[in-house]
Symmetry: C2
């Protein structure tokens, strides 16, 4: 694969799941909040339900049913429904709800992320390409020591992945050809959408994205430009 490397100028990263551990981070905060307030909540179920609401909410925007809406606001819409469903809506103050909603700004990186990204940064332009909003991604990077050169978010392009405007918008904003950009993600559907528009692809295996005792699809695929066990492995393969 080494012959492909020299063309690649920029890496664009999916963030939730690929760079940071949303499942562990959210479940931990939900568990701590429940303990503090004396509430009975299954933190893992709560976390999975919150994340499960994310794609349908984005699809409502993508279809035009909702106007352009930031992820922070979509997260809050889903949260408010969940608090009712889990029967804890009345137990939390507005400040507590607002703080909980911003847990997505405080997601913790996977252990290899800060060091792996720093190595990759020596050779490539490093940009997020996330459905999160800009402020969320900036705060997360400050909290987690993520050395981005550039934040591209759904807010930058007013589109959500897998809309082509995201992948092509990033290449265009960097004044690069699509094939000079490589999408890096732990989700095959994201990579396949990127490849459809001419970007190169790197699949990162994140066995615990949905917590332990899950069986995510971790098979390497020859269709992807690279398949890697971690960012450190990807840096090795890219010679940086």
């Amino acid at each position: 694969m080494a012959d492909q490397t020299s063309d690649i100028k920029a890496l664009t990263f999916d963030v939730f799941g690929t760079v940071v551990d949303w499942h562990g981070s959210v479940a931990r905060e939900v568990r701590a909040l429940a303990a503090e307030k004396g509430l009975r909540v299954n933190a893992v179920k709560f976390t999975k339900a919150w994340r499960a609401g994310y794609r349908p909410a984005m699809d409502r925007v993508r279809s035009g049913e909702l106007p352009w809406t930031l992820i922070d606001v979509l997260h809050r819409m889903i949260l408010d429904e969940l608090l009712v469903k889990f029967k804890i809506a009345d137990a939390l103050t507005e400040d507590e709800k607002a703080h909980l909603n911003r847990v997505w700004h405080r997601l913790k990186p996977w252990p290899d992320s800060p060091r792996g990204l720093k190595r990759l940064k020596q050779k490539f332009i490093m940009a997020t390409l996330s459905n999160g909003n800009t402020g969320l991604l900036v705060n997360m990077a400050k909290n987690g020591n993520l050395p981005w050169d550039c934040i591209f978010s759904s807010e930058t392009f007013h589109h959500f992945k897998p809309d082509p405007e995201m992948y092509l918008g990033a290449a265009d904003a960097l004044d690069l050809k699509p094939e000079e950009v490589m999408m890096v993600a732990s989700h095959k559907h994201d990579l396949r959408a990127a490849a459809k528009h001419g970007l190169k692809t790197a699949f990162i295996k994140r066995p615990h994205e949905y917590g332990r005792n899950n069986n995510p699809d971790l098979e390497s695929e020859p269709e992807f430009t690279y398949n890697a066990e971690s960012f450190l492995d990807l840096a090795d393969q890219l010679g940086t």
Copy 2:
């Protein structure tokens, strides 16, 4: 002034002149190119004329006379006119012209910039807020070791400073109130526009922005939140 510091969450930076030395960087490359090609060009006059074309070109976009246009393209329009005016248009190949146009991606930081920005980054969100385009600012940061958390450019908001959309857009994208953001610039008109929309302001003195033997306005002004001799001085004043 120390009582104001605690409210400030993010610093937004003008780039050309404030962070990087456009005059010295462009003049140096023009001089080198002229030597290489055996051309007689007054590099200082050429550089000043190129920069002088910048604001009128942006104003043509701001007034609606031109549609939305990236600075890279405006720089090239001005360059093509200048090459004719300086009678060297036929002496350069298209590749040489394209390379020269990208000198704005290669502007060198002032000596205090990398270290001063790194100190400020320990306490604040650090964003560009420049009329440059995104790719230009990303390349410049890679070349010059400028540790931005976030690139905001005219391309982000499809406006040029001093349009309010730039100042308020940056605060909004960071989910901050205008008064939690401080505009940092070596140009008083930029700071006055930012202040009009509620941002705090820091004036940085750059005596050699237009080269030596100039008399720029370097007076401190009580209307600005801070007045500083350099980024290191600003970091001292902000306690970081």
